[in-house]
Subunit: 440 residues, 2 copies
């Protein structure tokens, strides 16, 4: 395992593919898809638009053109347009980041490359596992790569694995969308995003993000979630200088059974990525994670934590220099942090998967996992902002929004499993969920 | 089966038990539980308070005293008090309704008697069925009868069956609660309840209701839901003359497979109960049911309908005399309607259970049922007012609120089961859910 892990720790996707030229998102001539085809493009799929919820406000999801649905490896040929009315060309994921490009291109590239890398890694885990009764085929399970174009402009791809040997249900989704944000929607965002310009008129926005939810089959392998996103309010006069922008994201772990070493490992990897950039990030983002992923009506956390942040921009309070010797952070600094934090996902999670994936489990352990998944459903449907916004948005792509739900879940009335005073491993987890711990 | 059904059609509970004297809810001396024990009292359980959600506003659920939890057949001896500070005595369910009593006593009596009757009938169905792999015991499955007292006054009982031969999970719940309704909560209720006095001060309220959700095991037996409730704003100067009051309720059917005869039968039974009282009830309440139980983000109904009404009071628009020859309805008339409508539950549902309960099913049919249950969870957690109010209420009894959720549910990304154009029985149901039908 150690060699594998070492390889995974070099988690930033490294290139083994030919570079392709970077298309601009706007003000460019339309070229036919065939003229843009390139190996890496094909491998990533046609990357057409999806409405996967990344909590960016309710206008984002409106108006998906389901009839434009295409599968990966099919070059989409639709009449989508960009913010400025020009034909929309899907972003090509390339592996060399060019600082001369606008951040929206760079972040879209980043999340696409990472999506590709994570999907490939998960398929590797599947192929490194024996067929079993849930997935008896000798052929190793693969992700379904589903891509869309959004008529108004934008693209996305939902990569979904169901019925795996290790992963019961997993979604790894990218969206690259833009649209118009009316003043009402801006006002709703203002409290969390004070750098927004005064909401007086409808403004164009751009948003891109990567969202992952993985529900493994084995009750001893934790569920994991990741979301990293970039948002900007565009300036039509100056497409390369947005009027406002921020990053958001995080990752958190949801085990059914507590393994303290796992918790420490997961948090340590995220902490390393945070500490590399700012010693204030880790304590702040860990606390924000515990606060956000809380099932209020149960009085318990969804999982054992991780990191969560929103509105990360150069003017964010956490990025103000605390002492005169510290210099102001640049947008580049924040992007580097986001790259490191999102890159920490595989080294934080994959070793835990390998550690437990071949463990035997009992029916009782599976039952407890199903009950925990019931709580996961409760959190996502009752509290998660992205899910709620998405579901209440006319035209939202429900399949993508609800991909985060587990394949199966369970509810029992006054379940005896994990009950107070039972002195069981189930109760052990329950106690930690009621009193979030500092793991590192 | 016909004899059984005939018996069920006489659905109003008929007495075969000794009458007991009717205790008042207020202004009465405290007597020890032993002096109140009577056969029917024992059979119904100690009927202590539960916070089961009946959509009556968020103040109702506050402050349940879990430590006072008692089981049925145990006479509770707790320091609960009524609206006026007097010791709270659980309502005895008696089977003779006395019009001299205030409506809150009469309705509480009614729902308790009906609960008892329905629980017994369902246990009869269980005992009339053979043990199976899910419920292999030779002993026929029984409901767990769980009762509470609410410290501030009020009582309830949750009767729950899990792991039955026929019923996978079933809850039959009564609550009889009162409390204080601050102006803010009254204002929130005003749009739906114009008979409320002007919200200027905190007012005492009383609420009682019966709630049922039944999830059968066999995919060919539909899920069913029922809720009937009575609400009043009390007048402390005149406990027997509330300042405002209304009835609400309904019942609806959620099949996984469409059986048109079932749909017609279910609706016919409810329509009969409606038509007996007012020809306007059925069309109005059927439409309201289709409107309420709608999963907006899926663009489909939760089930195939039934009836739903709220704010049913003598001043409700639907109860205004349409022509000069018609006389105004009295509160007594409305109570009679509620009794008939709720009594229609067993004759509407039980024949459907008997018709399908012994049918064989395939794994594929079970999978579709689980997917449909996923939609049921989506509706209840995202849209159902009672559930939402309950979950957002500090101190709510979550176990009772979420008892409506199925034991198991399933979500698949872009599931092929029931997909458009598949020409399957699953798609047949889907079509009806997208275009609600008039069944009678």
């Amino acid at each position: 395992m150690s060699i594998r892990i070492a390889a995974l720790r070099a988690a930033r996707p490294t290139s083994s593919r030919p570079k392709v030229s970077l298309p601009q998102l706007s003000r460019r001539a339309y070229s036919t898809p065939s003229s843009r085809a390139a190996p890496s493009y094909k491998r990533l799929g046609a990357s057409a638009a999806t409405g996967f919820a990344i909590a960016l406000g309710y206008t984002i999801y409106h108006g998906y053109n389901e009839s434009k649905q295409v599968r990966c490896d099919a070059a989409p040929l639709v009449d989508a347009v960009d913010t400025y009315g020009y034909p929309w060309l899907p972003v090509h994921a390339i592996e060399k980041d060019d600082p001369k490009n606008p951040m929206r291109i760079r972040m879209a590239n980043w999340v696409k490359s990472l999506q590709d890398h994570i999907v490939n890694t998960m398929e590797e885990i599947e192929s490194a596992s024996e067929p079993n009764s849930f997935s008896p085929s000798s052929e190793s399970p693969k992700f379904l790569r589903d891509t869309w174009l959004r008529k108004e402009g934008g693209e996305g791809s939902s990569c979904v694995l169901a019925g795996g040997r290790v992963f019961e249900k997993a979604g790894v989704n990218v969206s690259v969308v833009h649209g118009s944000l009316p003043p009402r929607a801006q006002k709703a965002m203002l409290p969390d995003h004070p750098s927004l310009p005064e909401p007086i008129e409808t403004v164009p926005f751009f948003a891109t993000g990567l969202s992952i939810v993985i529900h493994p089959r084995n009750p001893h392998v934790p569920t994991v979630h990741l979301n990293y996103r970039y948002f900007e309010i565009e300036d039509p006069q100056n497409p390369n200088e947005p009027k406002a922008w921020w990053f958001g994201g995080g990752s958190d772990l949801t085990p059914s059974y507590l393994d303290e070493d796992d918790c420490i490992h997961f948090h340590q990897e995220l902490k390393k990525a945070c500490d590399k950039h700012d010693s204030r990030y880790w304590p702040d983002f860990k606390k924000a994670c515990d606060k956000y992923f809380f099932i209020t009506h149960r009085g318990e956390s969804r999982g054992i934590g991780g990191i969560f942040f929103d509105d990360l921009t150069t003017s964010s309070p956490i990025n103000q220099p605390p002492v005169s010797t510290m210099k102001h952070k640049t947008k580049e600094d924040l992007f580097e942090f986001v790259k490191d934090a999102s890159s920490a996902f595989l080294p934080a999670y994959v070793p835990i998967v390998y550690k437990h994936k071949d463990r035997k489990w009992t029916e009782e352990e599976r039952r407890w996992q199903q009950l925990r998944r019931g709580r996961y459903v409760e959190f996502n449907l009752v509290y998660d902002r992205g899910t709620k916004f998405g579901l209440h948005t006319p035209g939202a792509r429900v399949e993508s929004i609800l991909m985060s739900l587990p394949e199966t879940a369970r509810w029992e009335y006054m379940s005896p499993v994990g009950a107070e005073g039972s002195n069981t491993r189930e109760e052990e987890l329950q106690k930690v969920l009621k009193n979030p711990k500092e793991w590192v």
